[in-house]
């Protein structure tokens, strides 16, 4: 398991290659990359604040849960903090499993949980100033399907 919280930019392709190179016997690798979107137009920066210490602990716990719940060989969670520009990668997850169903499900689970359970906060900065991004009810609903399935 590889959990990284960093301000530095990263290359999702290079991360995927490195993740793939360290697997043995994994038939499926799924990755997701989250990219900064200029939703309203005129985005100067996306600033991400986090809670050092708790962030790493929360991501580790979420990844460990995924590893117990599905048959995974490995998982990567990488999330940036600090200021970034539109179209830059914010974060990525990767899962490796013998079979694709586990790799897909675990990657979705990781995304759903880290969106509303890992202590990150986004602020959109435009010429008009900074605006904290509101949490979406949809993100909270996305967690329910995982608890309902038991």
């Amino acid at each position: 398991m590889d959990i990284r919280v960093q301000s530095a930019a990263f290359d999702p392709g290079a991360e995927l290659n490195a993740f793939t190179a360290r697997q043995t016997g994994m038939g499926a690798i799924v990755t997701f990359s989250g990219i900064v979107r200029d939703v309203a137009g005129g985005l100067q920066a996306m600033e991400i604040e986090h809670y050092p210490g708790m962030t790493e602990a929360a991501l580790t716990e979420i990844a460990e849960t995924a590893c117990t719940r599905w048959k995974l060989g490995d998982a990567l969670v990488l999330h940036r903090h600090g200021a970034m520009k539109a179209d830059e990668p914010i974060m990525m997850v990767a899962t490796a499993a013998p079979h694709r169903a586990d790799a897909f499900a675990a990657a979705e689970f990781l995304m759903d949980y880290l969106k509303s359970r890992a202590p990150f906060w986004k602020k959109e900065v435009t010429a008009a100033g900074g605006q904290w991004v509101d949490a979406r009810e949809h993100d909270e609903d996305a967690l329910e399907r995982w608890t309902q399935r038991g």
């Binding site: 989250g34 809670y51 914010i90 509303s116 359970r117 906060w121």
Partner: protein
């Protein structure tokens, strides 16, 4: 006890963290005590439904006991990913 604030709570209260001596036995009592102390706290904590809390870096709730706790953090709902 070390109390931390993140995102708009940090901005409204005007500082990222502070050391607080308190007799509060629960998170709710701590919030009430701070809110009574100064307007900036009362303004920041005016809508408890919009606030999440972590106790010793674990997501918790306003009923959580504070006995033996080292660190309490207040923040809005998380928006990672």
């Amino acid at each position: 006890m070390n109390v931390l604030y993140f995102a708009w709570l940090r901005e409204r209260i005007g500082q990222p963290s502070e050391e607080i001596d308190t007799e509060a036995t629960t998170v709710r009592e701590l919030v009430d005590e701070l809110s009574a102390r100064e307007d900036r706290y009362a303004a920041a904590f005016s809508d408890p439904a919009a606030i999440r809390v972590a106790v010793d870096q674990k997501l918790s709730d306003f009923d959580a006991p504070l006995s033996g706790v080292q660190e309490v953090a207040f923040f809005p709902p998380m928006t990672g990913g």
